[in-house]
Structure formats: structure tokens, C-alpha cells
């Protein structure tokens, strides 16, 4: 396809700079365009500003320079299009699972009550927690809480899903399982995803694009395309191409880590 014919990017970052107060730049010269349907993983050493980048796209934190547009709008005006999944489940412990999922719809005044309940049921069914609707968060396991958090995001039918290491605190089995579920849901609801992670395997399994960031200040170091066909399943992890990509990204990440230590010693 000719670049001139391609549709405009759904998320467009141009020369984005972020600093807190008069401090040094956390992120510097970030240029990144996401096409509709992209699953972009952000990976890099700690302190490289991966999570900050999500906060900028969501409009939760203002940029210090450059420009961000989301679907042609300022991030803060495009909140209806996006949803955020935090590192922790971020549920309200005093509400039941179903009420937790309903909160964003109530806050954004979406739908009548009966329609909301229906969407809650659908979203919980999508993450396999339909029977836990009347539970309180403390009665769920860590993985189940994260599923509720995802169901809550899905209930808003976002076009863009921003996920900040959502499975970081979970054991590897649960994480692999949730990765597969996430992709299965995405087959049904095509959103564009930004996914912050520390896990190379997770990044390769989920994304079609992996952005490797370097630290001090956070810059885009390189981008790797993952041309594994969707839907991806458990078998994908056994394929030679998957293994090769995991190796490639790991080597890249290690070289970026070394950059960081040399910079620190200099």
C-alpha cells in the first residue's frame, strides 16, 4: 500500500518530551505512530519511561514538548476512545465484582441500568468470571482480580487499550494463560493496544510491534516487527520463529541495559 493511501494513525506521537518540573527529561524525542489494530509492546530497562508514555497517551499526565493526537484529538478529549488497565487490579474493595465492572459506565453516563447490567454480564463471561459476579474482590485470586480489571476495561468497548504491566505480579502459568485469553478476546473486539511489560516472551507472544526503549532519557532504541500470524495459541510458543524472536529481543534488551550502565558510569 502506498503510504499516502494509508489511513491516518490512531495514535500519533511527534517529538514528545516529558520532564517533571525543571528535572531532566524522562522521555525525549519520542516518535511513534500506531495504526488501527496494532498491538504494540513497550519494553526496556526500568526507569526508561514506559509507564509514563502510557500516562501521556491517556492524558493522565501532560506532555512537556512535542504533540500527541489520539484519533485526531488531544488525549484528554479522546478519553471516550481509550481505557487504561493498571499494574494492579485497581478494584474498589467495597463493591462486588459486577458493581466494579459497572463503575466506568456509570461515571461516563453510558446506557440505562438494564443495558449496563447486560454488558457487565457479557464482559465477565468474556473473562470467564460470570459466576463470580456477586463476590467481593478480596474473595478472588490475583489472576481473577486482574481478569475483573480487564472485563471492566472491555465493558467500555475502547478502541485503544492502554495496559501498564497488567500481568507483572502474576505467576508465569497464570500470565501465559491470560495472554492467550487476551488475544482470544482481541479476535472478537479489535482494539489497538499499548502494552508495557518486562517480559520478552510476553511481548513477542502478544504484539505485532515491539518498541525497545533506552533509559536516561527514555528514547526509542529500536522496533521489532513480529510477523507471527494471529490467532496465536499455545503452539505459537513452540514455533522456531517465536523462539528466534524471543532470542533477538532479549539480545537487544541486554545491549540497551548495557548502554544504561555505561551511561551511569560515564
Amino acid at each position: 500500500m502506498n503510504p499516502a493511501d494509508s489511513p491516518p494513525p490512531i495514535v500519533d506521537l511527534k517529538d514528545v518530551v516529558k520532564r517533571y518540573g525543571q528535572g531532566p527529561a524522562i522521555l525525549d524525542g519520542i516518535n511513534l505512530q500506531a495504526r488501527r489494530g496494532d498491538f504494540i509492546s513497550l519494553i526496556g530497562p526500568s526507569g526508561c519511561g514506559k509507564s509514563t508514555l502510557l500516562k501521556l497517551i491517556s492524558g493522565l499526565s501532560p506532555i512537556s514538548g512535542g504533540a500527541i493526537t489520539v484519533d485526531g484529538m488531544q488525549p484528554i478529549d479522546a478519553r471516550e476512545e481509550m481505557f487504561f488497565v493498571f499494574q494492579e487490579p485497581t478494584l474498589m474493595p467495597w463493591l462486588t465484582v459486577a458493581d466494579n465492572v459497572e463503575v466506568p459506565m456509570r461515571l461516563r453516563n453510558r446506557h440505562v441500568a438494564s443495558k449496563r447490567k447486560e454488558i457487565v454480564r457479557e464482559s465477565l463471561a468474556l473473562v470467564g468470571l460470570a459466576e463470580r459476579a456477586s463476590y467481593h474482590p478480596r474473595q478472588l485470586s490475583g489472576g481473577q482480580k486482574m481478569r475483573v480489571s480487564i472485563a471492566r476495561a472491555l465493558s467500555m468497548s475502547p478502541h485503544i487499550l492502554l495496559m501498564d504491566e497488567p500481568f507483572g505480579a502474576l505467576d508465569e502459568m497464570t500470565r501465559d494463560h491470560l495472554n492467550e485469553e487476551l488475544l482470544a478476546i482481541r479476535q472478537k473486539r479489535a482494539w489497538t493496544a499499548f502494552f508495557v511489560t518486562h517480559s520478552v516472551a510476553e511481548a513477542v507472544f502478544l504484539s505485532n510491534r515491539i518498541i525497545v526503549l533506552s533509559a536516561n532519557p527514555g528514547r526509542i532504541h529500536s522496533e521489532i516487527r513480529v510477523n507471527l500470524a494471529y490467532p496465536r495459541t499455545e503452539e505459537t510458543r513452540l514455533s522456531p520463529e517465536y523462539q528466534r524472536l524471543v532470542g533477538e529481543v532479549s539480545v537487544l534488551l541486554r545491549s540497551v541495559e548495557r548502554l544504561k550502565t555505561t551511561a551511569a558510569h560515564a
Partner: protein, 263 residues
Amino acid sequence: MRKRLLSLLLPALSTAGLIALWYLGRILLGPDRLFLLPAPHEVAAALSAKGPALVAAARNTALGALLGFSLAVTVSSLLALFLSLSPRIRAGLYPLLMGLQMTPVVVLAPILILWAGPGLASVVIITFLICFFPMVVNTTQGLISTDANLVDFFRMCNADKRQEIFMLRVPAALPYFFTGLRIAATLAPIGAIVGEQTAGTSAGGQGGLGYLAVVYSSQFQMAAVFAVVIVSCLLGFVLAGGANWLSWLALHKWHESYHRADL
């Protein structure tokens, strides 16, 4: 079942031990100072003999305690909401609140007598002053301790300030609020009794337990004074129990503190 039996048996044993010590104390005191420590059975007799007076006094004290306590809950909740709005408001008002807390309430009693007159109003104000501080400090702390991610989550949902306060900050502050409430509930009867002794009145049957303790001790009715102590203690249990019950009602379904068996 065994656990429950044990939880009844242990306090019963320690109470029995205390009563035994009490009798032993009387033996050690010797005959000419025996009047200082009436025997448990004499106190029991006084409890029964002074029953109607004790019940009436307890009712008056409970009224003062409950009114002062309720006033403290109301005012502290509103003030905590206001204080939670900004660090500047807190910086401006906390020193004043601390100052109020540092002032011994008993010193204020003479002023209150002049302002409100001796009687229920003064007792209520003194109870209020004693209960108010732990409530406002705890509730404010709760209102400003909301999980930062949840606040971001509300902002992502385009929640307005009113929704953020009443759907997020207030429910998240409930465990702190009830901590303050439970402390205040144990202080309320103390406040009321101190209030009665410093700014109370006995006119028109308004005398409470504080008044009764002073009267009986001036008449050297030691067993009756001890009876007042026991009734005061029971009143404290009733109020603290009520606060614990309210806390349980509001929190037991979701809060960790009601579910950790190992704590």
C-alpha cells in the same frame, strides 16, 4: 467450638482471679483501713440497693455521652471533608486543631459554665471536645489516602470532583472513619463523666454517674462509689460495643480486617 469455649473461659478465670486478689487485698489492709476497700459482695449489695439511682444516673450520663459523641461524629466528618480538599487548608487549620487538643478540657469547664451554664449543654460540649479530635484526624487521613491508581482510574472515566469524593474517597475512608469512631466511643462516657464532675448539675434529676460518684465518696459510702465505677465501666462497654457493631455492619463484607484469622 473449643475455641469459643476457651474465649469465654479465659476472661471468666481472670475475673475470678481478680476477685480473689481483691479479698486478699482486704486481708492485707488490716481492720482499721478496711473501709477503703469494700468487699465484692458489699459492692454487689450496693449495686442492688442503689439500683434505681444508678440506672437514672447512667441514663443521664449516656444521654450526655451520646449527644456529645453524635455531635463529634457529624462535625468531624464535615470538617474532614473540608480538610481533605487541599494540603493548604490542612496546613492552615491543623495547628488550631492541635491547639484545641492540647488544651486540657477540664480547664475549659469554668468557661463553659459561664457560657452554657452548668448542666447537659456543658456536659455535651465537653464530651464533644474529647471525642472530636481522633475522629477528625482519622477521617481526614482516610480521605487523603485513596489509592492513586483508583484516582487515575476515576479521571480516566471523566469523573467529576463530586463523584470522586462520594463514590471513591468517602467509601475508601470508611475503615479509617470507623477506627476514629471506635476510639471516640470509648472516650465518650469518660468525657460525659468528667463533664458532669466539672460542669454538671444535679438539678431536676440531671445528675449522672460523675455526680453520683462525688456524692457517695463525700458520704464515705465506699461500696456505692465502687458500684458507680462498675456501672460506668458497663456503660463504656455498651458504647464501644455499639461502635464495633456499626463498624462490623459497614465493613465485614469487604474489609480485610474482618477476614484475617491470623492477626
